[in-house]
Structure formats: structure tokens, C-alpha cells
């Protein structure tokens, strides 16, 4: 299709032949300008996000969870927001965690995100999470299928030989970390939270059956994982930017917490939020801007369709 319109074109044809650069420019403007405005938009968290928050808040303070991280900066806009939400909650509840990765870039990306959340905590005079004592990196595993089977079957053997570096010494065996104190099997972890941008979601739920699974996935993976959530294969789901914003709102308001902005749920009792803490993050920063981009998409689709109908009408008229 030609990008340029010609004087002979009918309105219908013109509407169908907008140059692509004009769409690109409008998209850049609409995804940039609202970022400066710091807008706030209302939101109603979906059930899957509420369950995610309820489950993670039900993890006893001071206990431990396993974290699977399989994202890189290619999905930073969504996955990093999800990871930060998870880290903030875990750190506020003093929950220790061990993380493993199925992508070569992922271990460093996770360490960088932890460093960022730690910086936030230090700025607010809160205790930072210390490597090895509060969390431990289990590194990268090229074969996700076999590793997930091994985690379910014999967690200690699956992670044997892995080392991580504490703050004030050289690398040590991960089993010397307080995170693994008393751990005999995967069941000694309260749950597994997986932040993923690839097919490791199915690899995980097909193989890890002994502990509840919580998934944080990218937008494109939401419909597939909604299916697993509906069949109770995962107990909570945060999907894409909407999931991040849902969780940030839940961190602010809690569930069934009486007040003007109460987030109701018939499945949960009162689950507290973290009022006064730093709850806004990438979800709050990006979600309003997403409205403008989506609006542009709707307008673009409608314009194309209106153009098509007008052109058809015109053609019919011409034929008559």
C-alpha cells in the first residue's frame, strides 16, 4: 500500500493510506509526553492479581521462598516491575529467598534489580537485603526441563556445588547460607514465585508439583497462564503491566481493608497493605501512558475500518 496520498483518492482510500511514519511519530509522542505528567488512573485489580497478593502476604514473616527468574531487559518494562514488586514485599516481610535462572543474562539482571530495591531501602533508612544471608543466587541452568525435575525430586542435589558470594568473604557453598538452613527438600520453601518471559512457565508447572506456584508473566503470556490459573495449577498470577499496577495498588490498599479505596474480594479476609511505604513503581509510572497508546491503537483500527467501509460504499456507488 502506498504511503503517500494522491489528490484522486477518495476519503475512504485516504483513511486507509495514512503514512506509517505519521503513526510512528504519534506513537512516540503519546508514549512520551504523558510520562512527564505523572497522571493517576483508577484501577480495579483482577482476581488473579488479588490471589497473587493474598498468597504472597500469607507467607509467614521470616520464612523462605524459591524464586525462578527467567527474564532479561528485553521485557524490562513488564518483568522488572514485577520483580521489584515481589522483592519489595519479600523484603518488607523479611522473607528469605533463593533464586535460579534459565537465561544466561538473567542472574546479573536479578542482582541489578535487587541492588536497586536495596538502594530504595537504604534511602528510606530501612535494612538492605544482604547477599548470602538474606538471599542467595543459584546461578544459571541451561536445561530447564531436567533442572525443574531435579528441584521437585531432590532439591539439594539439584543445587549442589553452587556457590554465591557473601558481603565480606569469598564465594561459599550456597548450602552454608542461612537461606538453606534446615532445608531438606523443595517443600521447605513456602512457595515458588516465577518471573518469566518465556516457556519456562509450562516447564515449571509440568514438573514442580510439591509447592504452590505463583507466576509473574509478560502481557502476551496472560491468556495462556489465565488457563493454568483457572484450573488451579497456579495459585496466583500477575500478568503484564496491568498485573504490576494491580499489585502496586494492592500494596497500597491491601485486600478488604476498610476505607474509601477498599479493594474487595470474597475469597480473602482482611489482608493489610503497606500504607506509607514506597509502593508506586513502574506500574504506576507506565500504566496511565498505556491508556494513550491503546487509545491510539483503537483509533488506528477504527480509522482503517471506517476507510474500508467508505471505500466499499464509494465503489458500490460507482458500480451503480
Amino acid at each position: 500500500m502506498a504511503d503517500a496520498t494522491t489528490p484522486e483518492m477518495s476519503l475512504g482510500e485516504k483513511l486507509q493510506a495514512l503514512p506509517k511514519w505519521s503513526l510512528y511519530v504519534v506513537l512516540v509522542i503519546l508514549t512520551s509526553v504523558p510520562l512527564f505528567a505523572k497522571l493517576e488512573v483508577p484501577n480495579k485489580p483482577v482476581e488473579a492479581s488479588i490471589d497473587f497478593y493474598g498468597k504472597i502476604m500469607a507467607v509467614p514473616d521470616g520464612s523462605r521462598i524459591l524464586v525462578g527468574s527467567d527474564w532479561t531487559n528485553s521485557t524490562r518494562g513488564e518483568s522488572k516491575g514485577e520483580m521489584k514488586v515481589l522483592l519489595r514485599i519479600l523484603m518488607r516481610k523479611n522473607v528469605k529467598f533463593a533464586f535460579y535462572c534459565f537465561d544466561p543474562q538473567a542472574p546479573q539482571v536479578v542482582r541489578d534489580t535487587i541492588r536497586e530495591v536495596n538502594a530504595e531501602r537504604i534511602a528510606r533508612q530501612e535494612k538492605p537485603y544482604r547477599p548470602f544471608d538474606d538471599y542467595v543466587s543459584l546461578g544459571y541452568f541451561p536445561n530447564a526441563e531436567g533442572t525443574c525435575n531435579a528441584i521437585n525430586n531432590n532439591l539439594l542435589a539439584a543445587f549442589s556445588g553452587k556457590k554465591d558470594t557473601p558481603e565480606n568473604s569469598g564465594p561459599k557453598d550456597v548450602f552454608e547460607s542461612p537461606v538453606f538452613a534446615g532445608v531438606k527438600s523443595v517443600k521447605d520453601f513456602q512457595l515458588l514465585a516465577l518471573i518469566t518471559a518465556s516457556s519456562t512457565n509450562t516447564v515449571t508447572l509440568e514438573r514442580i508439583k510439591k509447592i504452590p506456584l505463583l507466576f509473574m508473566v509478560t502481557g502476551v503470556m496472560v491468556p495462556e497462564n489465565q488457563n493454568y490459573y483457572a484450573s488451579n495449577q497456579i495459585v496466583g498470577l500477575a500478568g503484564g503491566l496491568k498485573g504490576v499496577y494491580d499489585l502496586e495498588q494492592l500494596m497500597e490498599h491491601g485486600i478488604n481493608n476498610p476505607g474509601p479505596e477498599m479493594i474487595p474480594s470474597s475469597k480473602w479476609g482482611v489482608v493489610p497493605g503497606f500504607k506509607g511505604a514506597l509502593n508506586s513503581g513502574m506500574g504506576t509510572a507506565y500504566y496511565p501512558t498505556l491508556h494513550f497508546a491503546l487509545l491510539l491503537l483503537i483509533v488506528a483500527i477504527l480509522t482503517g475500518n471506517v476507510g474500508m467501509f467508505l471505500a466499499k460504499k464509494q465503489a458500490k456507488k460507482g458500480a451503480a
Binding site: T31, G77, E78, E145, S160, T202, L294
Partner: protein
Amino acid sequence: MDYTFIKMTLGVLATVGLYSVLYRENKFYRFWEHVFLGLASGWALVILWTETLKSTWWDKMLGATNNSGQASVMGYWAYAALLPIGMMGYFVFSKKHNWISRIPIGIILGMYSGQQIQVWWNRFGPQIDNSIKPILPTSTASFFKPGTSGLAPDAVAKINSTVYPSQAITNIIFVVTLLSVMSYFLFSFDIKSKMLKNTTTLGRWLLMIGFGAIFGSTVMMRFTLLIDRMYFIWIEWFKMLVLRQPG
């Protein structure tokens, strides 16, 4: 000029360089594209040893000793056999012996396929179980499920456990959708039965609703990734670093 400024400015330059292809293919884009490919494969080479082979192969093969010279981890020599097996993969570049490269690939594929029997049920068993839904109402006191706002928990639980006619219809739609979409997938050959033909046609229509949802979610993801880049350029770099204003 501090290090953070240099680092982020380079990141912005690289981002703009890659975006320049949206206008047209150009040398500036090609330069950054090759930097990207080089860095990505170089980093994989770093991780190959530091996060994988060192701990899972080398250390296990050689074992370790503690500060007093006593064995803290025993070394297992059988791991040495994995080196020649791994090297077999590199025969893919040999014209004469490239079949040897299929041995390590065969091991990986064999393990993958051997797991399929186990994982199939783990993945689909709960879904099959969840798809068997009641399609007959258990109460006709009301066509629609009554509202539960302000009711006592017992009353809410009772309403939630009752299948009202509207719920039964919803369940029928669920089951019909599932079966017709499956029939569209499974009976993709030439069908003689008119009923089956109609079912697969219905399946195709309902499938479109599923694809519509996938499209909606995909759009959310792709736009979010773009918003993130714009945030990086305009807020993190331009506003916070260049203009020195709070984010």
C-alpha cells in the same frame, strides 16, 4: 562528566541507533546491531563458564579442599566423560563427520521426549479435571446468581456453591467452546459429517475470541516495552540526569 552519565548516554545513543531502522536500514543501525550481537554472544560465553560449567562440571569433577587441606567436596572423575560428549556437538561444522554432532543433541532430545509422558498428564490432567463442569442447575429459585454484597459468609458460601440456571448456561458455553475448538484442531482433514463440520466452524469462530484476547494482551506487552524505553530516554536520562530534576 561522571560514569553514570557516560553509561546512560551510551545507552540512549544505542537505543536511538537501533530505532533508526524504523526510518530505513542505515549504517548507524547496522553498527549498533553488530555491537548488540557481539555483546550478547560474548556475555553468553562469560556465563557459560562463570554461572554453569565452573560449578556444575569443573568443581564437581575436581572436588574441593578446605583451608586445612582436607577434602570438603569429593571430586567425581566420571564428569570428565562429558567433555568429549560436549565436543561432539562441534562436529556439526565437519562435512565428513557431522552426524556425530547428533549424539549430544540426541541425548538432550531423548531426555526431553522421555519426559513428555510424565509432563503431559501434569500439565493437562488438572485442566481436564477443571473442564468437567456442572451443566444442570441445582436451584431454580433465581435465574441469575443473586448478589452477595453485605451478606453473612455462610450465606455467601451457600450462594457460591449453588448452580443457578445462568451459571449452568455459562458452563455449557464453556464446554461447547472447549469441545468445538478441540474438534477444529483435531478434525482438520476433510469432514463428511455435517454436524462435525458445523462444530468445527463454531470452533473456528470461538477460537477467534481466544486470538482476540491474545492480540489484546500482546498489544499491552509491546506498548509497555516501548513506554519503558521512552521512560528510560525522557525521564531517567533527560529529566533526571541531564536536567537534574527529580523523577
